[in-house]
């Protein structure tokens, strides 16, 4: 460990000596302070705070991400090129110590810079939302909806899933699935249809959903129901209806109103009647006189938001999550820099990062069965090519899916909880698992790499 720490200290010292740290600090300061001066919000205090959070922290994260990959690539490859690695390699240190020391030094530098940026942003935030700058009402709304850590919960679909699977088995047994249709594809379509129905409320009907609350309600904090729906008529006219909230079969709260379609709506409900409950029932009664059916968006159309903590803690956890990502990017850069020269390492690392960013698209492609055949290609090799491509996409999805993280700045700017679980998961997957694999691979390459080749 001593050796690792010594190499880390040397790495930091080299960064300071080469003025990288000073340049990065200046760049971060420019981004964090200069950006809010040029960005236009929507004219509200909430908008200003959200812009500040999303853009300034986003700019800092972007600068640090680029510098992490770049400095990771340079840390070993440049030292090999400049023959400085010889001095280190001939000392009694293992290749893994060198790799870990470099990584730790760069990560420590990132941690300091990130903490500095976060402190400046936090100060700017406090200054923007100071009582003299915004009204008490706006400040209260900010505290409740943005400068907070709100946990969310969506309707429980367990029973729906079981019932859907059973129904599908019956359909399958009755031979109602078209010949030649893959059962998995048929099930996907069947489930999609049932799910739309699960979130649809016909005119004059009442539909209820069960929601497990992430935390127990406290009497002094309201619970927010956020919803959005589409309706079966193409008119923007609002839909009349009534919401019911309660536990078991008892509706304790009701709210009647009219809500336009396709927009997000938020209802603040007093938590007092639900104190101590961990599972609630919500129901919507469609009383629209025009007779339109209401369809709640199955993925984002219905959720309960409740305060699960303060903003400072959330901000700190978001910072930690960002640091984990930076540490991972450093590891990617270092591994590439161990294997290749600087330009090639940069190219490879950036390609890997882009690939990670495209994981959503890769996931979609992996779920597809035909690629060339779907594009109208025929011939003996098409099936094989499709099969191979499917294997590639599935392999990539399996490798990249664990690295998917929620957009931490989006969460922060919308007052959503950045959970400790997410931070712990990121540490386990990004650092322990993938970071560990990269470290082992990097050390193995470094052990075998011929450092004394003539240039």
């Amino acid at each position: 460990m001593k050796r690792v720490l010594a190499i880390a200290a040397l790495t930091v010292r080299a960064a300071i000596r080469s003025r990288v740290l000073a340049a990065l600090t200046a760049l971060l300061l420019t981004a964090v302070i200069g950006l809010p001066l040029t960005i236009r919000g929507d004219g509200t205090a909430a908008g200003r705070v959200q812009i500040l959070l999303a853009y300034t922290m986003g700019a800092a994260a972007l600068v640090l991400s680029i510098s992490s990959v770049w400095s990771g690539c340079a840390a070993i490859s440049q030292e090999i090129r400049d023959r400085q690695m010889h001095l280190l390699a001939v000392k009694p240190v293992r290749p893994l110590d060198i790799w870990l020391g470099k990584w730790l030094g760069l990560t420590a530098m990132n941690a300091v810079l990130l903490a500095f940026s976060a402190a400046v942003v936090y100060g700017l935030l406090e200054w923007t939302a100071r009582p003299a700058a915004i009204g008490a009402e706006e400040r209260a709304a900010l505290d409740e909806e943005i400068l907070a850590a709100r946990a969310s919960a969506r309707p429980d679909e367990t029973e729906f899933e079981t019932a859907t699977r059973e129904q599908f088995q019956k359909e399958l047994a009755a031979g109602r699935v078209a010949d030649g249709t893959h059962p998995q594809e048929a099930y996907r379509a069947f489930r999609h249809l049932r799910r739309v129905q699960f979130y649809a409320v016909p005119p004059g009907a009442l539909r209820e959903w069960r929601i497990r609350l992430p935390v127990a309600p406290t009497p002094d904090r309201p619970i927010f129901l956020r919803f959005r729906f589409a309706k079966s008529e193409l008119t923007p006219a609002a839909v009349a209806g009534q919401w019911f909230f309660g536990t078991g079969d008892q509706a304790r709260l009701t709210t009647a109103g009219e809500w336009p379609p396709d927009a997000f709506h938020s209802l603040a409900l007093p938590a007092q009647p639900l104190v101590g409950e961990r599972e609630i029932i919500i129901a919507f009664g469609n009383a629209d006189p025009s007779g339109a059916t209401v369809f709640f968006d199955p993925d984002r159309g219905l959720e309960v938001l409740m305060r699960a903590g303060g903003f400072a803690g959330n901000f700190a956890r978001a910072g930690l999550l960002l640091l984990v990502q930076l540490a991972f990017l450093t590891a990617v850069g270092l591994a590439a820099g161990t294997l290749f020269s600087m330009p090639v390492a940069s190219f490879v690392s950036i390609s890997l990062v882009v690939l990670m960013k495209l994981s959503g698209y890769i996931g979609e492609m992996a779920g597809q069965r035909h690629y060339f055949a779907e594009a109208g290609r025929t011939g003996p090799g098409v099936a094989l090519a499709d099969h191979l491509l499917r294997l590639v996409f599935r392999g990539l999805r399996a490798a990249l899916a664990p690295l998917d993280l929620p957009n931490v700045l989006d969460l922060l700017a919308s007052g959503r909880l950045v959970a400790w679980g997410s931070v712990a998961g990121a540490v386990a997957i990004h650092l322990a698992l993938y970071g560990g694999l990269l470290a082992i691979a990097g050390a193995a390459v470094l052990r075998r790499r011929e450092l004394g080749l003539p240039s």
Partner: protein, 517 residues
Amino acid sequence: MRRRVTLLYLLAALAAFAGAARVQPELLRLRRAFHLTQADPLENMPPIVAFTTVALGGFRGLLVDALWMRATRLQDEGKYFELVQLAGWITKLQPRFASIWAFHAWNLAYNVSVMLPAPEDRWRWVRHGITLLRDDGLRYNPGSAQLYRELSWLYQHKLGQDMDQAHFYYKRAWAEEMTRALGGERPDFDRLAAAPRDLEALRAVPGVAELLAALEAAGFTPPYDHVLDADPPPEPLATRPADDPATRALLDFLRARRTRETYRLDPLVMKAVDEAYGPLDWRLPGAHAIYWARQGVPFARSRFERISLERSIFQSMADSFLRGRMVENRELGYFALTPNLALYPRVRQAYLDALEEFPTDDSIQVAFRNFLSDAALIFYTYNLEARSREIYNELVQRYPTAAVPGGFEGYLYNLWQEYGREASPGQASFFVESALYQSHLWRALGDRDRAAGYARMAQLTWHRYMEIRKDPEFRARTGLPPLEEMDRIAQQRVREFIEQARAAAAEARSAENPPNP
């Protein structure tokens, strides 16, 4: 030898540059004169635009795609706080592409605004759409007829019509802004145009330096813009007589500056528009729709663009005729728009001009026929039968199929019944108000039975119209003001009419019997 050749090349290049520099201004002038480019060449291009259009080169497209995808995603997720900035970036990355400006202004003013329940939030987004076009879009595309037309449309349709649930809020908010900026419904355009252009010139007006010092002592610091927004007016102004030259100079300066810099309106152009199409109430969106459409006409390069702009003008004028008179009672929180009868000759002329230019365009023919039809009924219900008959005669002369067996009365009776069944909010409003007007007029003339009949008709129409508007959203958007308030306005109009009639009679009498010298 080689050096000499190089020197020769350099001299030739220098001469070519000098020649190009000499020819360039004339080329630019010709480009403008013959409309050879979509927009005028930009001078003093802002750094951000210069950077994005020149330095980024082909990568602009990629950046725009990424920003556009982000904007779409955020809008879909209901996260609107970044959209103003993203729209600004997307448009500035392609600053000469007028359709992009038009799309984003539309998106902010129409699509985003209706997602928000509170009228004040909606209004903020409608304003974002307007300012994007007016302040930036037209700045980078000063010769784009499309953008003038789009801006005119926002005023005419989004603010002026009743398609949005919050349209009354928009109209009121705009009227308040304009009242602060212009000082009333009909500003003195000449005074605004002649107002000092900068603070130095203002200070040179006698008495202004003392007035500014008093304002500063009262907390109004340069550039003194908040003076116009202060309610009640700042004490140093309130304590001076209204015709105090220094006060007038200051207010003219502040109003002219805000008119030019914030609302991008040129007082002299406003005056020309008002003379051509007015008298307009500049607190209402219709006047601004006409202003911007008129500004775009010289840049129309196709028949479609020309017709679109002309249509904006005559539709806005027809709207101003139908609802171009603002009635506001701040104490009661009441705000309504009623017919502006004085506009009739100008609206008619605007239609005739458009028809002369596009005689075969069916949409203009139909619009003119509908306008004449509305006008005949409105004048009749305001007891101006001769004018109404004159309009009817023109209607049947131009459109013989409009004639009905019952002649003038038969036509109006049919129309009355038709409006009773399917009246638009504007038509229903004048329908009820005019019946109330008749009621008060006949009461003043002593025919109480007839007056009661008209009052009953107004009540019946009001209740029938509101009865079918059970849906509160529909009612809020297209409903009529309270009957009592409409009655009060009609009574006021009758009072004004009688006063005018008395004054005219007195004038006629004095003309007949001139006082002895």
